[in-house]
Symmetry: C2
Subunit: 182 residues, 2 copies
Protein backbone atom coordinates (compact mmCIF):
# COMPACT_ATOMS: atom_id res chain seq x y z
CA UNK A 1 0.00 0.00 0.00
CA UNK A 2 1.60 3.31 -1.05
CA UNK A 3 1.48 6.27 1.36
CA UNK A 4 -1.98 7.87 1.37
CA UNK A 5 -2.27 11.61 2.01
CA UNK A 6 -5.10 13.07 4.11
CA UNK A 7 -6.19 16.54 5.17
CA UNK A 8 -8.01 17.23 8.44
CA UNK A 9 -10.24 20.30 8.34
CA UNK A 10 -12.24 21.84 11.18
CA UNK A 11 -14.57 24.79 10.87
CA UNK A 12 -18.23 25.54 10.24
CA UNK A 13 -18.87 22.50 8.02
CA UNK A 14 -18.18 18.76 8.17
CA UNK A 15 -19.89 15.45 8.87
CA UNK A 16 -18.47 15.21 12.42
CA UNK A 17 -19.50 17.46 15.32
CA UNK A 18 -16.62 18.71 17.51
CA UNK A 19 -17.73 17.93 21.08
CA UNK A 20 -14.47 18.87 22.81
CA UNK A 21 -11.15 20.36 21.76
CA UNK A 22 -8.28 21.25 24.02
CA UNK A 23 -4.52 21.38 24.30
CA UNK A 24 -2.98 18.66 26.48
CA UNK A 25 0.33 20.51 26.23
CA UNK A 26 1.63 23.33 24.06
CA UNK A 27 -0.50 25.77 22.06
CA UNK A 28 -4.16 24.99 21.31
CA UNK A 29 -5.85 25.09 17.88
CA UNK A 30 -8.56 27.67 17.07
CA UNK A 31 -12.05 26.50 18.09
CA UNK A 32 -14.31 24.86 15.53
CA UNK A 33 -17.82 23.35 15.43
CA UNK A 34 -17.50 20.68 12.71
CA UNK A 35 -14.80 18.41 11.31
CA UNK A 36 -14.08 16.53 8.08
CA UNK A 37 -11.32 14.33 6.67
CA UNK A 38 -10.39 14.85 3.01
CA UNK A 39 -8.27 12.59 0.84
CA UNK A 40 -5.20 14.34 -0.55
CA UNK A 41 -3.14 17.26 0.74
CA UNK A 42 -5.08 20.51 0.64
CA UNK A 43 -2.78 23.41 -0.18
CA UNK A 44 -4.77 26.12 1.59
CA UNK A 45 -7.29 26.51 4.41
CA UNK A 46 -10.78 26.10 2.86
CA UNK A 47 -13.26 28.98 3.17
CA UNK A 48 -14.84 29.02 6.62
CA UNK A 49 -12.29 26.62 8.09
CA UNK A 50 -10.58 27.24 11.44
CA UNK A 51 -7.62 24.94 10.98
CA UNK A 52 -6.09 22.44 8.58
CA UNK A 53 -3.69 19.63 9.43
CA UNK A 54 -2.15 17.20 6.96
CA UNK A 55 -0.51 13.80 7.15
CA UNK A 56 0.41 10.73 5.17
CA UNK A 57 -0.03 7.08 6.09
CA UNK A 58 3.35 5.44 5.62
CA UNK A 59 5.35 2.32 6.35
CA UNK A 60 5.55 1.37 10.00
CA UNK A 61 8.63 2.65 11.80
CA UNK A 62 8.82 0.43 14.91
CA UNK A 63 6.69 -2.73 14.81
CA UNK A 64 8.27 -6.15 14.40
CA UNK A 65 6.74 -8.92 12.32
CA UNK A 66 5.43 -10.65 15.44
CA UNK A 67 3.75 -7.45 16.65
CA UNK A 68 2.33 -6.72 13.20
CA UNK A 69 0.78 -10.18 13.00
CA UNK A 70 -0.99 -9.56 16.31
CA UNK A 71 -2.13 -6.08 15.21
CA UNK A 72 -3.44 -7.22 11.83
CA UNK A 73 -5.40 -10.06 13.48
CA UNK A 74 -7.20 -7.71 15.88
CA UNK A 75 -7.38 -4.23 14.36
CA UNK A 76 -10.70 -3.12 12.83
CA UNK A 77 -11.16 -0.78 9.88
CA UNK A 78 -12.49 2.76 10.07
CA UNK A 79 -16.10 3.51 9.22
CA UNK A 80 -17.91 0.90 11.35
CA UNK A 81 -21.60 1.94 11.57
CA UNK A 82 -21.66 1.78 15.39
CA UNK A 83 -18.40 3.77 15.75
CA UNK A 84 -20.10 7.14 16.14
CA UNK A 85 -17.36 8.58 18.39
CA UNK A 86 -13.97 9.67 17.07
CA UNK A 87 -10.87 11.50 18.23
CA UNK A 88 -8.12 13.32 16.39
CA UNK A 89 -4.91 13.68 18.40
CA UNK A 90 -2.05 15.57 16.72
CA UNK A 91 1.25 15.44 18.59
CA UNK A 92 4.70 16.97 18.23
CA UNK A 93 7.78 15.40 19.80
CA UNK A 94 10.89 17.21 20.99
CA UNK A 95 14.18 17.68 19.17
CA UNK A 96 15.66 15.33 21.79
CA UNK A 97 13.35 12.56 20.52
CA UNK A 98 14.30 13.09 16.90
CA UNK A 99 18.00 13.17 17.77
CA UNK A 100 17.73 9.64 19.17
CA UNK A 101 18.81 6.77 16.94
CA UNK A 102 16.40 4.05 15.80
CA UNK A 103 17.44 1.58 18.53
CA UNK A 104 17.05 4.25 21.23
CA UNK A 105 13.60 5.30 19.99
CA UNK A 106 12.44 1.68 19.74
CA UNK A 107 13.67 0.99 23.30
CA UNK A 108 11.63 3.89 24.67
CA UNK A 109 8.63 3.28 22.40
CA UNK A 110 8.11 -0.40 23.15
CA UNK A 111 10.65 -1.97 25.53
CA UNK A 112 10.01 0.70 28.19
CA UNK A 113 6.71 2.39 27.25
CA UNK A 114 4.87 -0.66 25.82
CA UNK A 115 3.10 1.53 23.25
CA UNK A 116 2.18 -1.38 20.97
CA UNK A 117 1.27 -3.71 23.83
CA UNK A 118 -0.99 -1.09 25.44
CA UNK A 119 -2.70 -0.39 22.10
CA UNK A 120 -3.29 -4.11 21.48
CA UNK A 121 -5.33 -4.28 24.68
CA UNK A 122 -7.91 -1.89 23.22
CA UNK A 123 -8.42 -3.76 19.95
CA UNK A 124 -10.82 -4.29 18.28
CA UNK A 125 -12.79 -1.67 20.26
CA UNK A 126 -10.71 1.30 19.05
CA UNK A 127 -9.94 1.68 15.32
CA UNK A 128 -6.89 3.80 14.59
CA UNK A 129 -5.06 5.34 11.65
CA UNK A 130 -1.65 6.99 12.08
CA UNK A 131 -0.52 9.80 9.76
CA UNK A 132 3.05 11.11 9.54
CA UNK A 133 3.36 14.87 9.23
CA UNK A 134 6.89 15.88 10.24
CA UNK A 135 8.51 15.46 6.81
CA UNK A 136 5.71 17.53 5.26
CA UNK A 137 6.77 20.58 7.27
CA UNK A 138 3.58 20.47 9.35
CA UNK A 139 3.32 21.92 12.89
CA UNK A 140 2.72 18.43 14.33
CA UNK A 141 4.84 15.30 13.77
CA UNK A 142 1.93 12.84 13.81
CA UNK A 143 -1.84 12.97 13.54
CA UNK A 144 -3.67 9.92 14.88
CA UNK A 145 -7.35 9.40 14.14
CA UNK A 146 -9.44 7.01 16.25
CA UNK A 147 -13.04 5.71 15.97
CA UNK A 148 -15.03 3.81 18.58
CA UNK A 149 -18.58 3.11 19.72
CA UNK A 150 -20.12 5.14 22.60
CA UNK A 151 -19.99 2.07 24.86
CA UNK A 152 -16.20 1.96 24.37
CA UNK A 153 -15.67 5.63 25.31
CA UNK A 154 -14.40 4.74 28.80
CA UNK A 155 -11.94 2.26 27.33
CA UNK A 156 -10.68 4.96 24.95
CA UNK A 157 -10.14 7.38 27.87
CA UNK A 158 -8.19 4.66 29.62
CA UNK A 159 -6.02 4.08 26.52
CA UNK A 160 -5.01 7.72 26.10
CA UNK A 161 -4.45 8.14 29.85
CA UNK A 162 -2.12 5.13 29.94
CA UNK A 163 -0.10 6.31 26.94
CA UNK A 164 0.28 9.79 28.46
CA UNK A 165 1.88 8.24 31.55
CA UNK A 166 4.64 6.52 29.56
CA UNK A 167 8.30 7.50 29.22
CA UNK A 168 7.65 8.04 25.49
CA UNK A 169 5.18 10.81 26.31
CA UNK A 170 7.85 12.82 28.15
CA UNK A 171 9.11 13.65 24.64
CA UNK A 172 5.74 15.10 23.59
CA UNK A 173 6.05 18.89 23.39
CA UNK A 174 2.62 19.65 21.91
CA UNK A 175 -0.58 17.64 21.96
CA UNK A 176 -4.13 18.65 21.08
CA UNK A 177 -7.09 16.36 21.75
CA UNK A 178 -10.18 16.79 19.57
CA UNK A 179 -13.27 14.67 20.29
CA UNK A 180 -15.89 14.10 17.61
CA UNK A 181 -19.37 12.61 17.25
CA UNK A 182 -21.64 11.93 14.33
CA UNK B 1 17.78 19.46 13.30
CA UNK B 2 14.29 19.64 11.75
CA UNK B 3 13.68 18.03 8.33
CA UNK B 4 15.11 20.19 5.54
CA UNK B 5 13.39 20.18 2.14
CA UNK B 6 15.38 20.27 -1.11
CA UNK B 7 14.52 20.36 -4.82
CA UNK B 8 16.80 18.87 -7.47
CA UNK B 9 16.47 20.51 -10.88
CA UNK B 10 18.17 19.52 -14.14
CA UNK B 11 17.89 21.39 -17.41
CA UNK B 12 19.68 24.13 -19.33
CA UNK B 13 20.95 26.00 -16.26
CA UNK B 14 22.74 25.16 -13.02
CA UNK B 15 26.13 25.30 -11.38
CA UNK B 16 26.87 21.61 -12.01
CA UNK B 17 27.49 20.07 -15.44
CA UNK B 18 25.75 16.73 -16.08
CA UNK B 19 28.52 14.45 -17.37
CA UNK B 20 26.49 11.22 -17.40
CA UNK B 21 22.90 10.26 -16.74
CA UNK B 22 21.40 6.82 -17.11
CA UNK B 23 18.88 4.38 -15.70
CA UNK B 24 20.37 1.51 -13.71
CA UNK B 25 16.92 -0.09 -13.65
CA UNK B 26 13.43 1.13 -14.49
CA UNK B 27 12.58 4.21 -16.56
CA UNK B 28 15.21 6.92 -17.24
CA UNK B 29 14.81 10.67 -16.67
CA UNK B 30 14.79 13.13 -19.59
CA UNK B 31 18.29 14.26 -20.59
CA UNK B 32 19.71 17.52 -19.22
CA UNK B 33 22.94 19.51 -19.48
CA UNK B 34 23.11 21.29 -16.11
CA UNK B 35 21.98 20.63 -12.54
CA UNK B 36 21.18 22.64 -9.41
CA UNK B 37 19.98 21.98 -5.87
CA UNK B 38 17.46 24.42 -4.41
CA UNK B 39 16.39 24.73 -0.78
CA UNK B 40 12.67 24.19 -0.30
CA UNK B 41 10.11 22.20 -2.26
CA UNK B 42 9.47 23.71 -5.69
CA UNK B 43 5.85 23.25 -6.69
CA UNK B 44 6.37 23.22 -10.47
CA UNK B 45 9.10 22.47 -13.00
CA UNK B 46 11.04 25.72 -13.56
CA UNK B 47 11.16 27.18 -17.09
CA UNK B 48 13.70 25.33 -19.20
CA UNK B 49 14.05 22.44 -16.76
CA UNK B 50 13.97 18.79 -17.86
CA UNK B 51 13.12 17.24 -14.53
CA UNK B 52 12.48 18.06 -10.89
CA UNK B 53 12.86 15.74 -7.92
CA UNK B 54 12.16 16.61 -4.31
CA UNK B 55 13.12 15.20 -0.93
CA UNK B 56 13.44 15.99 2.75
CA UNK B 57 16.28 15.18 5.11
CA UNK B 58 14.73 13.43 8.10
CA UNK B 59 15.53 11.41 11.19
CA UNK B 60 17.53 8.27 10.56
CA UNK B 61 15.47 5.14 10.16
CA UNK B 62 18.00 2.33 10.77
CA UNK B 63 21.27 3.39 12.43
CA UNK B 64 22.01 2.51 16.02
CA UNK B 65 23.79 4.84 18.44
CA UNK B 66 27.04 2.93 18.00
CA UNK B 67 26.86 3.24 14.21
CA UNK B 68 25.88 6.91 14.39
CA UNK B 69 28.88 7.68 16.59
CA UNK B 70 31.16 6.12 13.96
CA UNK B 71 29.41 7.97 11.12
CA UNK B 72 29.51 11.36 12.83
CA UNK B 73 33.23 10.94 13.59
CA UNK B 74 34.10 10.26 9.94
CA UNK B 75 31.53 11.89 7.68
CA UNK B 76 32.48 15.16 5.96
CA UNK B 77 30.14 18.00 5.08
CA UNK B 78 29.05 18.93 1.57
CA UNK B 79 30.72 21.79 -0.28
CA UNK B 80 34.42 20.92 0.18
CA UNK B 81 36.39 23.01 -2.35
CA UNK B 82 38.18 19.94 -3.78
CA UNK B 83 34.96 17.90 -4.12
CA UNK B 84 34.31 18.88 -7.74
CA UNK B 85 32.58 15.59 -8.60
CA UNK B 86 29.06 14.76 -7.47
CA UNK B 87 26.37 12.16 -8.06
CA UNK B 88 22.63 12.18 -7.59
CA UNK B 89 21.10 8.71 -7.28
CA UNK B 90 17.32 8.55 -6.88
CA UNK B 91 15.94 5.10 -6.09
CA UNK B 92 12.54 3.50 -5.68
CA UNK B 93 12.05 0.30 -3.70
CA UNK B 94 9.38 -2.34 -4.29
CA UNK B 95 6.06 -2.76 -2.50
CA UNK B 96 7.58 -5.94 -1.03
CA UNK B 97 10.23 -3.81 0.73
CA UNK B 98 7.70 -1.40 2.15
CA UNK B 99 5.50 -4.26 3.36
CA UNK B 100 8.37 -5.54 5.52
CA UNK B 101 8.35 -4.63 9.19
CA UNK B 102 11.10 -2.53 10.80
CA UNK B 103 13.02 -5.54 12.14
CA UNK B 104 12.91 -7.27 8.74
CA UNK B 105 14.08 -4.15 6.88
CA UNK B 106 16.89 -3.56 9.38
CA UNK B 107 18.01 -7.22 9.04
CA UNK B 108 18.30 -6.88 5.26
CA UNK B 109 19.73 -3.34 5.37
CA UNK B 110 22.55 -3.96 7.80
CA UNK B 111 22.77 -7.51 9.21
CA UNK B 112 22.79 -9.03 5.72
CA UNK B 113 23.65 -6.19 3.30
CA UNK B 114 26.09 -4.23 5.53
CA UNK B 115 24.87 -0.94 4.04
CA UNK B 116 26.23 1.21 6.88
CA UNK B 117 29.47 -0.77 7.22
CA UNK B 118 30.17 -0.51 3.47
CA UNK B 119 29.48 3.23 3.51
CA UNK B 120 31.77 3.77 6.50
CA UNK B 121 34.66 2.35 4.44
CA UNK B 122 34.39 5.28 2.01
CA UNK B 123 34.40 8.05 4.62
CA UNK B 124 35.63 10.74 4.65
CA UNK B 125 36.29 10.52 0.88
CA UNK B 126 32.60 10.53 -0.10
CA UNK B 127 30.24 13.11 1.42
CA UNK B 128 26.59 12.10 1.34
CA UNK B 129 23.16 13.52 2.09
CA UNK B 130 20.04 11.31 2.07
CA UNK B 131 16.63 12.76 1.24
CA UNK B 132 13.32 10.96 1.83
CA UNK B 133 10.76 11.35 -0.95
CA UNK B 134 8.20 8.56 -0.63
CA UNK B 135 5.86 10.30 1.81
CA UNK B 136 5.88 13.39 -0.45
CA UNK B 137 4.23 11.40 -3.26
CA UNK B 138 7.38 11.62 -5.39
CA UNK B 139 8.25 9.03 -8.09
CA UNK B 140 11.34 7.93 -6.14
CA UNK B 141 11.49 6.86 -2.48
CA UNK B 142 14.93 8.32 -1.78
CA UNK B 143 17.31 10.77 -3.41
CA UNK B 144 20.93 10.49 -2.30
CA UNK B 145 23.42 13.20 -3.19
CA UNK B 146 27.17 12.54 -3.03
CA UNK B 147 30.26 14.77 -3.42
CA UNK B 148 33.89 13.66 -3.83
CA UNK B 149 37.22 14.75 -5.28
CA UNK B 150 38.33 13.53 -8.73
CA UNK B 151 41.03 11.36 -7.11
CA UNK B 152 38.28 9.52 -5.19
CA UNK B 153 36.19 8.77 -8.28
CA UNK B 154 37.36 5.14 -8.42
CA UNK B 155 36.47 4.67 -4.75
CA UNK B 156 33.01 6.09 -5.42
CA UNK B 157 32.49 3.63 -8.31
CA UNK B 158 33.52 0.83 -5.99
CA UNK B 159 31.02 2.01 -3.30
CA UNK B 160 28.02 2.06 -5.64
CA UNK B 161 29.01 -1.26 -7.24
CA UNK B 162 29.24 -2.96 -3.84
CA UNK B 163 25.87 -1.60 -2.70
CA UNK B 164 24.22 -2.76 -5.94
CA UNK B 165 25.38 -6.32 -5.24
CA UNK B 166 23.64 -6.48 -1.84
CA UNK B 167 20.43 -8.27 -0.91
CA UNK B 168 18.93 -4.84 -0.12
CA UNK B 169 19.35 -3.81 -3.77
CA UNK B 170 17.13 -6.71 -4.96
CA UNK B 171 14.27 -4.54 -3.65
CA UNK B 172 15.26 -1.59 -5.86
CA UNK B 173 12.76 -1.29 -8.71
CA UNK B 174 13.99 1.99 -10.21
CA UNK B 175 17.37 3.65 -10.01
CA UNK B 176 18.83 6.52 -12.02
CA UNK B 177 22.48 7.53 -11.74
CA UNK B 178 23.38 11.14 -12.56
CA UNK B 179 27.04 12.20 -12.48
CA UNK B 180 28.02 15.82 -12.10
CA UNK B 181 31.11 18.03 -12.25
CA UNK B 182 31.77 21.65 -11.51
Amino acid sequence: MPPLPFSFVAGAAGSWRVVAQGAVCGPALPPAARFEIHEGLLQALPDGASWLLRGVTSNERYVTREEKTQLVAKQPGLGRPNATCAALIPIQKSAAWWDLTQDERRAIFEARSRHIEIGLGYLPAVARRLHHSRDLGEPFDFVTYFEYAPEDAAAFEDLVARLRETEEWRFVTREVDIRLER
